[in-house]
Structures are given as C-alpha cells and as structure tokens.
Amino acid sequence: MKVALFIPCYVDQFYTNVGVSTLQLLEKLGVEVVFPMKQTCCGQPMANGGCEQDSKGVYEHFVETFSEFDYVVTPSGSCTYHIKKHYDIIEQTPAVQKVRKSIYELVDFIENVLKIEEIPNSFPHKVGLHLSCHGQRGLRQANASEITGVRDGQISKLLRKLNGIELTELERNDECCGFGGMFCVTEEAVSARMGQDRIADHLRNGTKVLTGGDVSCLMHLEGIVKRQNAPIKVMHIAEILNGNQP
C-alpha cells in the first residue's frame, strides 16, 4: 500500500504542528507515508471564488504529484471534498480518476481503510467538536441535523473512545462556523458573526479544547478565540489523536 500525505497549503505554512501530528499519527498506526515535496494546493480557494478555470493548472499539478499512490491522505475534509467533487472540469484521464478516488480525509482513512476503531490514548479534557461542513455534509462523515436528530459521526466515534475525554453537547451541533474560504473576507461581517456565535455556543456549554477536521475552520475560530481572549485551546483532531496535550 503506497500512501502519500497531502498537507494543504495553509496548513503547510501556518500549522506545521498539524502536519507533523498527522504524519506521526499515521506512522504510529503502522502506515508508511511518503510526502511528495512538489505538492502545493488542491485549488479550492480560487475555485470557490469563481475562478475554477484558472485553477486547472493547480489541479493538473496536484494529479501529477499524487497519481502514483494508492491512497492520498490529508487532514482536511474540505480539500478532499474539493478534489472528489470538483476535479470534473479537467480531462478525466485514468490518473485524474485515480486521484479523485484515492484521496481520503485522515479520520475517514483511519476508520474505513485502516479499519481502526479506537486509538489507545487519553485526553482528559472537555472537548467541543466543530463539524466542518465539507467533511460532514460533503463527504457524509457525520449525520446532518437536517436529516436526523441522531448526532453521530466518524470523528466523534474516535474521540469518544479516548480515555478521560468529555464531549461538549452543543446547542447547534452542526452550524457552519462562517469561514467559507474567500467568504471570510468578502463577507467579513457575517463571517465574523457566525464564528462568534459558534464560540459562544462552545463557551456556554463548557468546551475547553475545541477541535475539528479542518484547519481552515479552526484557524477562523481560533482567530476569534484569541481576539476575545476566550479560555479555549484550539487543536486539530490529528493533534489530539496523536496524543498531544493542550
């Protein structure tokens, strides 16, 4: 099994720790991981901004970088969703088709490819899980409240099994945080307000550590936490599963 690691551009630049934790976690789980050095980005930021035609070069570069692998694993549901869903505008060569199939979000990979249901770590903290929309509704990694009242999903399944952990019961379990790519600057007012409301829900219900599957949402939420000096530590799910402590 040839597994490649894809570290999205903003994670590479601003969240070195998340990249390191993802790599270490996979290694601990017995996966031999290759990190192709020429990788950059999946092209989502431009495409969501209305310029998918301009991203074709980025898409092709991505495919060229990753097509030799059986699996491409990334700590981002959003990039995974983008590659699966929106790489339909370039010619569907076997390489493109392969990459679109082999791209996996980290937790999905752990549960559904490695078939690992439990990671024997302890994390004795009150944890609030932010469900990022692209992982949740795009990849169906978690139930959507529009469809069912049962709150469950891949990330919460793994989290719940950590020793000593307590999960926050939120008022709005799957409301968007308001990051939304370019949205966070073009619609600054609404974006910030959405983020503030998410943080308020976590604060009201006792979250001490806020986690999630997408660094982009967490970066936005962390920006608000820091501005408000709120007593919340933000960690990506890879860091928690890797055994890092807040």
Binding site: C9, Q13, M46, G50, V58, H134, R137
Partner: protein, 462 residues
C-alpha cells in the same frame, strides 16, 4: 447603475448586534420546529425523493402538462391566460379586474392573499397606479404593505420586524393604542380591519401552490384562511402561477402536502389546503400562467432544478448567512439560498454578489424538501460570474496570481516563507490593520511558525 451588494447590506444589518442575535434566534427557532415535525415521520426522506422525482419528471414534460392543465381548467369553466413576462401578467390582471367589475364612482377593490409571483411582478404598485385598491390580507404581508417595504421572507414576510415595530405601524394605520405590542391584540386589530376589506372586495387574487394537470384544479395553502375568505366572498377569483407549479396527478398532492408545512413552519400541515376546481354559478375564476424568465432557467442544465422549489422557505430558516443578514440584504423577491440561485438568471450583473453570500455549507440542500442541490448551484453560478468578468478586479487578479503561484512549487515555497517571515517581523498594528485586512476586524491572524511543514519534513524525515 451601482447597487449596494450583499456584503454591504449584510454589514449594515450586523451593526445592530442584539437585533442580529434576535433575528438569528427567531429563525433558528423555526428551523427547530421544522426538525421536530420532520424527525418523527419515518418516510420523510422517501417523501423528499418522491417530491424531487415527480418534479424532475414534470419539468421534462412541462409543455404537455401545461396544455393538459389548460384543457381541463377550461372544461371546468375557468379562464386561462398566459403571460410571457411581468408586464404582461400585470396587464392581464388589470384587464380582468376592469372587465369584470364595472364599479361606478369608486376604485375597484382587490384583496390579495400571499403570492410571491405578484411580488416578483410588482403587481401592487402597477394596480394602484391604475386606480385599483389593493389590500394584502396575509397578516405579515399587510404589515409590510403598510410600511411600504417588500417582504423579507417568502413564508414569514415580516420576520425582520419586532412586535414593537408592528405596534407602531398599527398605531399609525389602524389606530391601536400607542405602545401596544401584544401580538394577540395586534392580530385581533388586523382581523377586524381586514374583515371589512374581505366583505367589501370585488375581486380576490391568490397565488397557487400546486396546479394539477389531470383535473385542471389548483391548490392554495394558508394558515390564516385569508385566501378562502377573500375568494369565496368576492365575485371574481384570479389565481396567478409560474409555469413550474404544475404537478401531474391529484394524488401527488399527498407527497407535497406532507412536506410543505413541516418544512416551512414545523406544522404537520397548513390549516387550510384548498382545492379549487370550478367557480360557483355566476362567479368568475381566472388563472394566469406566467413565464418571466422561467423557461430560460429551464434551459440551463445546471440550474433547471431550481424550478422544483415549492417555496417553503426552509432554506432561509436554516441558512446561517440569511439568519445573520436578513431578507432585505438579498435585494431580490426571493431571498436566501434559493433566491441566490434564481436571481442571477434574471440579472447577473445586479445579483452577482448573491452566489458568494454563502459558505457553501450545504445545509440548504439537506433541508430542501424537493432536494434542490442549492449549494452546488451556488458554486456553479460563481464560475459564471467569474467567466462573465463580473468579479471585482482586485479579487480576480489576486486569484489569478494565487493560481500561478500554487501551480509552481518553488515559487510557492518561497512566497510562503516570505509571508510568514513578514508576519513574524511586522508589528501587530500593521498586520492587523483593519482597512487593509478585513480578516483582522474581529479575528487574530494565526501565529506564523518559523518553519513550514515542508521545511520541518526536510530536516526531520529526509
């Protein structure tokens, strides 16, 4: 002409923090009522699929169903009219009124129940200019009519107003006590006022929720009973519908009536689900079938399913952006997510900011009772806006530059390093300058680490 775009209007809305909280919570409450009504129905998801497929079928045979509908309605003694656009629709309605009510020495009087189509056609203003008195009889619509505002929601027209605002409006127009804000008392005042209007009306106009090809009948759903009260007291009934309101068979109503009210307000069904087939002896019934851009949308493969919309409003109630920017920020008859995919078909330039007024979270698509893939269509409209050169220049060039950099690993690595370096060195006041960096108005930037992941990897794993 320069229109204020969604971000500007949304920012203005958000200036009032408390009111934004209230607006968000009020609509979230409706969304929660919807959940409570939906979860216990075991076949709810099957019903959504059926509703979606019936509409897909209907759209693929729409011309024949419209012909069948017209034939049957005509047999029932109903007069069917066709309008290519808003202007023609308004003209037809006016002529029906002028021909049917020869009133002397006063204006003809029209009572109107809720119809988004007539809002879309700006019928009220047109009729008033032509000396026809128009009274909106849905309570929410009456409130916004008094205030000379458009509705801010398709099901809850006055949802942007607080009871104090309504109290003020009724004090001015209906003479209720100043400061009175009890919804019970205000509603009673409206009831008394509107009873008089119902009894005095010459003509009643309604929208159409569903038109049944098989029988030539149409169905109107209300909670207040204003449609039936108006229609059954007036001599003439005019019902206006977009071409997409057709369903093939009577029993298909069994699918939509189970979905509509549950999705809209969380009621198991609307209080009145009224089936009109034939007029009473001596009275008139007219149906106006309107295109106004719909056939064009039908021809857009990526967007035609937007015509399946049954106007339940659930996508508005669930939309985190709508809840925090208000219906008026969309500046289009139908606001919210569905409005953002309908409006660019009508005027791409004017509404170019609407497909971007979303985080693409997808909640709208999951809540939609007819399974319109709204967020997918938002993404696709963005590409059309981009291709049509309607993106702000700065944004466009930033994207193009970004795309270049990201397809060239070496350039990417270097520019990332420079940016991180700059972030670490530059003072907070400069990196967080709010006029240059909207991110920083309410958020801190991430700490820039010394090493990128790539640099770490080279040092530790190679």
């Amino acid at each position: 002409m320069n229109h204020p775009d969604h971000p500007e209007l949304a920012e203005a809305f958000n200036k009032d923090f408390e009111r934004t909280t209230w607006h968000d919570e009020t609509l979230w409450f409706v969304r929660q009522k919807r959940d409570k009504a939906v979860y216990p129905v075991p076949e709810f998801q099957d019903l959504r699929t059926l509703a979606s497929e019936i509409k897909d079928h209907t759209l693929s045979n729409l011309d024949n169903y419209l012909i069948e509908f017209e034939e049957n309605a005509t047999k029932n003694g109903v007069k069917v009219h066709w309008a290519a656009d808003a202007t023609e629709h308004n003209q037809i309605v006016m002529e029906i009124i002028k021909n049917s009510c020869k009133v002397e020495g006063r204006n003809a009087r029209l009572v109107k129940s809720k119809s988004m189509l007539t809002e879309e056609c700006h019928l009220n203003g047109f009729l008033e200019k032509n000396n026809i008195d128009v009274v909106d009889t849905d309570l929410g619509e009456r409130i916004v009519q008094f205030r000379n505002e458009p509705p801010s929601h398709i099901v809850l027209p006055a949802i942007h107003l607080k009871k104090e605002d309504v109290g003020e409006t009724f004090h001015k127009h209906l003479g209720t006590t100043k400061g009175e804000k009890d919804p019970q008392i205000l509603t009673e005042a409206a009831r008394q006022h509107l009873r008089g209007k119902f009894v005095a009306a010459d003509v009643a106009l309604t929208g159409i929720n569903f038109a049944i090809a098989e029988t030539g009948s149409f169905v109107v759903c209300t909670n207040e009973g204003n449609a039936d009260l108006g229609v059954n007291l007036a001599k003439v009934h005019i019902a206006c519908m977009g071409i997409e309101k057709i369903i093939p068979k009577l029993h298909h109503l069994s699918v939509y009536t189970r979905l509509l009210a549950r999705s809209a307000t969380g009621q198991p069904v609307t209080t009145y689900t009224s089936h009109f087939t034939k007029p009473v002896e001596g009275k008139e019934m007219h149906i106006v079938i309107v295109d106004n851009g719909r056939t064009q949308q039908l021809g857009r493969e990526d967007f035609r399913s937007s015509l399946k919309c049954i106007r339940c409003g659930a996508c508005m109630n669930t939309c985190p952006v709508y809840r925090r920017s208000g219906g008026h920020s969309y500046d289009f008859t139908v606001p919210g997510p569905i409005g953002a995919i309908l409006s660019p078909n009508i005027d791409l330039h004017k509404h170019k900011s609407l497909p971007f007024a979303s985080t693409l979270c997808g909640s709208c698509s999951d809540v939609c009772p007819v399974k319109i893939d709204i967020h997918v269509q938002l993404y696709k409209w963005r590409q059309i806006v981009g291709q049509a050169n309607e993106l702000p220049a700065a944004k466009k060039w930033a994207m193009k530059g970004m795309a270049k950099v990201l397809s060239m690993p070496k350039v990417y690595n270097l520019s990332g390093k420079l940016a991180r370096g700059a972030l670490r060195i530059l003072p907070h006041g400069l990196t967080h300058n709010q006029s240059m960096n909207p991110w920083a108005k309410a958020r801190e930037l991430p700490d820039a680490p010394k090493q990128s992941f790539k640099e770490w990897y080279e040092e530790n794993r190679k």
